[in-house]
Symmetry: C4
Amino acid sequence: MERAVLEDLAAASRILVDQGVFDAAGHVSMRHPDNPDRFLMSRSLAPALVTADDIMEFSLDCEPFDPKGRNPFIERFLHGGVYKKRADVMAIAHGHSAAVIPFGLVATPMRATYHNAAFLAAGVPVFDIRERFGATDIVISSAEKGAALADALGDKQSAVFRAIFTEVSARVQLQAAALGGPMAALDEDEGRKADVINLATVGRSWELWKSRVT
Amino acid sequence: MERAVLEDLAAASRILVDQGVFDAAGHVSMRHPDNPDRFLMSRSLAPALVTADDIMEFSLDCEPFDPKGRNPFIERFLHGGVYKKRADVMAIAHGHSAAVIPFGLVATPMRATYHNAAFLAAGVPVFDIRERFGATDIVISSAEKGAALADALGDKQSAVFRAIFTEVSARVQLQAAALGGPMAALDEDEGRKADVINLATVGRSWELWKSRVT
Amino acid sequence: MERAVLEDLAAASRILVDQGVFDAAGHVSMRHPDNPDRFLMSRSLAPALVTADDIMEFSLDCEPFDPKGRNPFIERFLHGGVYKKRADVMAIAHGHSAAVIPFGLVATPMRATYHNAAFLAAGVPVFDIRERFGATDIVISSAEKGAALADALGDKQSAVFRAIFTEVSARVQLQAAALGGPMAALDEDEGRKADVINLATVGRSWELWKSRVT
Amino acid sequence: MERAVLEDLAAASRILVDQGVFDAAGHVSMRHPDNPDRFLMSRSLAPALVTADDIMEFSLDCEPFDPKGRNPFIERFLHGGVYKKRADVMAIAHGHSAAVIPFGLVATPMRATYHNAAFLAAGVPVFDIRERFGATDIVISSAEKGAALADALGDKQSAVFRAIFTEVSARVQLQAAALGGPMAALDEDEGRKADVINLATVGRSWELWKSRVT
């Protein structure tokens, strides 16, 4: 595998910290470019510190290949569970970005309030681990829990782009909600059309963001 | 044309990133100082990275002169459409600043809540592309859409000044709204008078902001 | 006069920018330590850039002594007006800090919600220039307007300390208001007692803040 | 005592400033590792400036041993009072983090809205000095007041971890409250289970945070 792929995946982790999506925790992974039955993900490490040498390779059952003494994240089961069930998913960013979490706690659905978050217009599912597994430590720590979680994103750069603008759109919606009254947002049709344009600009944003963390 | 003009236009782009008005997107343009039938605008590039060599020259129909292989922004149609219809407009800043967008989503009008945003007291029009063009990708990507958009600002430094304090005033209004009850703000008369004073101080702020990005 | 006095006054200006109280505008002044009929204030300049050489000396009628070609702030009339009417005032910080302004727009009074802002418990007057002077440019630009404004603060370091924690307390109150229901805060008696303790710690904060801007 | 212990306690103080929990005030202390009848705490100093040489040793009655001319914090009575009454408490972080204070002013209880703040699900007591001591300067400045305050945290690194994520969880709850309607959060059972996992990751966060302040 090309070294540049590992370096980009590590940069994705650092970019998501730099852009305020990840804090001391957060994981970004990608399906192996040459072998769809494997995925790539950092060893257990603060996401701001991840470099290419920290990237490990896993089976879809989350078994590491050639760990070289590196300790994997328990959260890899979230990633493996999605890659196994959803062949279309090529990359995953899993974080706890501050403006998004409120939408998991209340009944208000997330909406597409920012042009670069147009993809949110298709709807944002909320996975509540309590409904299926009762009172747990809320970590996706097993293959069974990973399989129960079925959200996913596009390719690696798009996963970063979408994680960032999901946070931005959430902040806008929180402020608009404070003003009260009916609120406009992109509808599904607009969201689909605008997302095509947005994806065409991912490279431009990626280069900028990457320059800040390298 | 003087090199300093291009450098100032490029600095305007970087200033608006530094001051939190632009993110990975955002475009600032100006009417050509010697030829009112042309305007100047960066090639397609993250606004934080724009330098004088990235500035291209366009006709009011958005045709580039001497592109030298540089790729223009599709959003240039927003700029050309305004320069063509509004001879009084000398510069445009087009961004998606976070505290302003909520006022495009709800019925609450923007008000002048901050002295340097006194010009907002004259009213802030909201352009909803859906009313005229139905469900689109929400980009001003043609001459027809550009012509349908008719908001504009003063000279280049003022465009930067106003973009910054529109964001600041929006933040103040969002906070005041959270307190509830009737809200004061500058009325149209006060807004007009205070704006005269504000424009006289643009140079002082410009020098400060420019020093941060050069 | 000692050079250190001028350097501290200039540092106060830069500290208030660094701590988010001043933006591209904002003025801090002090009564002359040896001559109570004079005050010291920067020439017209962004507050982040003020150094000892920018400090000018004024009569209480706002006439400059020995201007050396330096251009004074029109806002000096706010400062002179207060020093003239209030012999107890030794220093003034005049800014537009973002979380404080909403309390000038709505009926909700500011309260002391943060221990270091205990002095707010004595009440915060709101001066509305419209009531006395009608629709103006809202600048305190004459001796008459300066005389109509009668708010003031203690010594120089305390003015900085109080400007900073007024902003902090305002942010806390805005957040508490969003939660709804009755809100506690220091009462006048607690405010007076806690302020004695706070003033005793100003030096410790001042040294820290100054180290960030020198 | 090992020098590394003093250096870690000093780093804890600087970390809490860097992470936005402490401002110009805030104190972190720990029980003496070899003598449970003593505790360690910085001399009176802005928490951003604390180094190992600033750490003083106190009896549980807050008498300093070998002060070497260093001036102790008056707030040491808060720390001594807790160590004396609660043998299980090994470290204390006392600050005024901005998003937490509103929950001391209104009736809304703090809840565990963020995975790393799972420990909040057990409930957050509010100590109102006014109920017991009337109108005071609100400082815990005596043994009697210290004894009246009985909140506490786990070991030193955990105290830092918990102070940080209490602030983060408070911010999330403030935003969720603004959306209105019923709000979910971890229940006590989930909180206990998730906290076990969280404590296992404290070291990873600690190394990251420490690297930012050393």
